[in-house]
């Protein structure tokens, strides 16, 4: 059951081969069996899941099913879930039970999906290895001594290990695509504003975007169909009409113009990863696409720009965690200042503190122009690079991450090296473009991701391009041993 796609599961449920309750139990059993070593879930909502599954079975019986009705999924623990702890991977919110559903959560609820639980993540989505979580690191199902990537590492590990058919994630600088690459999954980060941010705990508001981690582009299309759309509660969500993503999957890609940015195949890229990526691009040529080299001349500015913009926004977004109304509060505060200082010192981990400090500095009087304003200007230059590129090509392809999954603890003490693991994904967030990572030929038995970047609101095309490769190859079907 756990190897079936969402479409196959939906068909089986409708055909009565098994019920949603049986399917849900199956995955709950797998979580019990495997998650002790993976640590991909922070909270498993067994009771609610079985209730939702029973309700889904009733809906299916009544002929009122959507393609997601009765399908178990997991949400990254950054999405608020009514009545269920929403920790954001932080001690700060270890005691926080959200009193409302995020829009994404509500949409899956309405579609009849079954929530298995909340997945582990880097604290407040700040990290690329899932090692900054208050709940401990997540292990990569392909190699338990390696990281699954981050920050949506729990969702990635859970889907890769077949503990759930699909999971939501969020991507601020690569937090869906990079763990998808490191865990052998399809990871879709839509256009900024395509998916509502309401109820998604903010890290960097101008960059954050919800998306999905799945085992195929087809599954991602079903997930996005539920998630996408304008939300009156999110002023930055897009008004553009939502495409029929599953219907767009089969489109012909003959004549597709692919651009390879020369800056993405530089010295920092592992040659074996580069070879895998080029093999996949060659496969596209066989499918009728044309390939040309392009330039994204400001690529080298993406990481420094990101590490001004994202910390600046996070320093403000995380100010509400002050021990006054919710979340962690220190014991016996002497006065207000003590309450603030100790609650925040105890509640936040080192990486979160580092970014709050960087961001506070960047926004301070006398530094604002040199850092924040300058970063916004570079952001425009980076967007312009992409705009020019999309005048010549339909999609841009390159590696998702510079290497395969690295070892636990390997980069944990070196923030700059860690930050460079998102070097190919960050520019996409700065520009607000959609991107998808799909598995290509592994290196030494470890997954490698091909990143495909599209123009604004081209999710349907990205899914179509990804799906056609998955029709022609079976890289995406590889399963980590033992799962």
């Amino acid at each position: 059951m756990h190897d079936k796609s969402i479409r196959q599961l939906a068909a089986s449920l409708r055909a009565g081969e098994f019920s949603s309750v049986e399917l849900t139990r199956w995955f709950l059993d797998r979580i019990r069996e495997f998650d002790g070593r993976l640590n991909s879930f922070i909270t498993v909502t067994e009771e609610q899941a079985l209730e939702q599954a029973a309700a889904a079975d009733a809906r299916i019986a009544a002929g009122d099913a959507t393609p997601m009705t009765g399908i178990p999924i997991a949400h990254k623990d950054i999405f608020c879930t009514d009545g269920i702890r929403t920790s954001c991977g932080s001690r700060m919110l270890d005691n926080f039970v959200a009193p409302y559903d995020a829009t994404v959560v509500a949409r899956f609820r309405q579609a009849g999906a079954v929530l298995l639980g909340k997945t582990n993540m880097d604290e407040f989505a700040m990290g690329s290895s899932n090692e900054t979580s208050w709940y401990g690191p997540v292990r990569n199902p392909w190699d338990p001594e390696r990281v699954p990537g981050g920050s949506s590492g729990g969702s990635a590990a859970a889907v890769a290990a077949r503990l759930c058919p699909a999971a939501t994630g969020t991507d601020t600088g690569g937090s869906i695509r990079q763990p998808a690459a490191l865990c052998g999954l399809t990871g879709l980060k839509p256009t900024y504003g395509r998916v509502s941010r309401y109820g998604m705990i903010a890290f960097a508001s101008s960059l954050d975007q919800g998306g999905a981690l799945t085992r195929s582009a087809e599954d991602a299309a079903h997930m996005l169909q539920v998630m996408a759309g304008f939300d009156p509660r999110d002023s930055t969500s897009g008004q553009e009409p939502v495409d029929d993503y599953p219907a767009a999957l089969e489109g012909d890609i003959g004549g597709l113009r692919i651009g390879l940015p020369k800056e993405y195949f530089d010295d920092g890229l592992d040659p074996a990863v580069a070879a895998s990526v080029r093999d996949a691009v060659a496969e596209y040529e066989r499918l009728g696409a044309t390939v040309r080299e392009i330039e994204l001349p400001n690529s080298h500015l993406a990481v420094p720009t990101y590490y001004v913009v994202a910390p600046a926004e996070c320093s403000s977004n995380l100010a509400r965690f002050d021990g006054v109304r919710f979340g962690h509060r220190c014991d016996d505060p002497r006065d207000l200042e003590d309450l603030y200082k100790r609650s925040r010192a105890e509640g936040f981990g080192a990486e979160v503190k580092r970014r709050i400090l960087i961001g506070t500095y960047a926004l301070s009087a006398g530094y604002y122009d040199a850092y924040y304003l300058k970063a916004q200007q570079i952001r425009h230059l980076i967007s312009d690079d992409f705009r020019r590129a999309f005048e010549q090509v339909d999609v841009i392809m390159g590696p998702t991450a510079p290497s395969v999954a690295f070892g636990l603890g390997e980069k944990a003490d070196d923030p700059v090296t860690m930050y460079l693991s998102d070097i190919y994904t960050i520019a996409v967030n700065l520009a607000g473009l959609p991107g998808i990572s799909i598995p290509v030929a592994p290196v030494n038995g470890l997954p490698v991701g091909l990143q495909i970047i599209g123009d604004y609101h081209q999710e349907a095309r990205l899914l179509n391009v990804a799906h056609r490769l998955q029709q022609a190859t079976d890289w995406h079907l590889a399963t980590p041993a033992g799962y």
Binding site: Y198, S205, R233, S235, R320, V324, F326, T360, L363, A365
Partner: protein, 478 residues
Amino acid sequence: MNWETVIGLEIHAQLATKSKIFSGASTAFGAAPNTQACAVDLGLPGVLPVLNRGAVLMAIKFAAAIDAELGRRSVFARKNYFYPDLPKGYQISQFELPIVGRGRVELLLENGDTRTIGVTRAHLEEDAGKSLHQDFHGMTGVDLNRAGTPLLEIVSEPDMRSAREAVAYARKIHQIVQYIGICDGNMQEGSFRVDANVSVRRPGEELGTRTELKNINSFRFLERAINFEVERQIELLESGGRVVQETRLYDADRDETRSMRTKEEANDYRYFPDPDLLPVELDDALIAEATADMPELPDARRQRFCDQYGLGAADAQQLTASRALADYYEQLVAVCGEAKMAANWIVGELSGALNREGLAIEQSPVDAGALGGLLQRVVDNTISGKIAKQVFEAMWQGEGTADAIIEARGLKQITDSGAIERIVDQVLADNPEQVANYRAADEKKRAKMIGFFVGQVMKASKGKANPQQVNQLLRGKL
């Protein structure tokens, strides 16, 4: 040598929207603590602000009322600081690009001169909640009902040169925001708050160091706070001291200002554009919508009252002080038809009664229609002006309409000349000595002496005799 006072005001006008500026929660005043604060107002993790369109329309209206440039593209910014009644750890305000740009208001000073005061800008922002320090046994209570209430912060140029001018300007803004219906102007409930930036200098010199006065909740306190502060600064400078840039709280009980925090202690607010909100773009259609129901503004109405009703400048100024009062006046004129009489009654009897009981015109127990009914009876000679005052008092006490009171108390004026003549005859018969004196006097003295007889006749008729008829009859008989 003289000192020149320089004053600029920052006014926070609470906008009269039904819901908050970034959430759907109600803005009504006086609810139980934290019952009007939704997830957005509480700053819960994951929530996002959505701009209230009504607040934007009101800001546009204000811009039109003070002849200001509109910020066609304005941007919300975050003002970051920690305080328990500031749930998100930042206030959403506008910084570099406000919605209302440079404008001006005209003041009519008491000596009849006019003065133009520049408005630097006005911007939209959200209010914070309230910290309550009493009744919590050494702890602080936080009430977030007010958090997210829309404010228009109106910043003036440092154009005022005395406390009286500052009060006149504040009153003018108060009048305008109420006229155009964007603020209820209630200072006690904090709907209209004034902070004053005050400095002194030798005439012709550069601006002196200023202090900012806060916690002023009436126009009277505004004047007193500024005057206290000006004296304090002058004394300080004349004794060789230096004014420190700081925020000072006005203490109405002690009538003094006290240091709250100095510039060195001030926060670095780390303003930056709020990434949760799009820039506000004002197009012509929105501006037209906002100004479609623009009422006649106070200055124009004052001028019209002079032209149309023949009122003096002082009466016109007083009658247009608030839109409700001016509306009351025009309704009263419509009913009674006598513009001057209507003005006198409002400025005299009605204002006296309202002041006595501390009521606003909207709370008057006698509405314009009822008062008009009374004045009609004066116009048609049913009662005299003097009796009308008695009837007014009865109406104020809720005894009914003018006609009902006149009827019940038998106050109808006696116009039957036979009846008046009988009273006149009686008065003359009762006062033979005065009659003799009158007849012996010359014309000049007689004019004064006739008053005695009129008084006696009015007294005997309990004020109901028609005064013109009494005069005529007396002159004939004497």
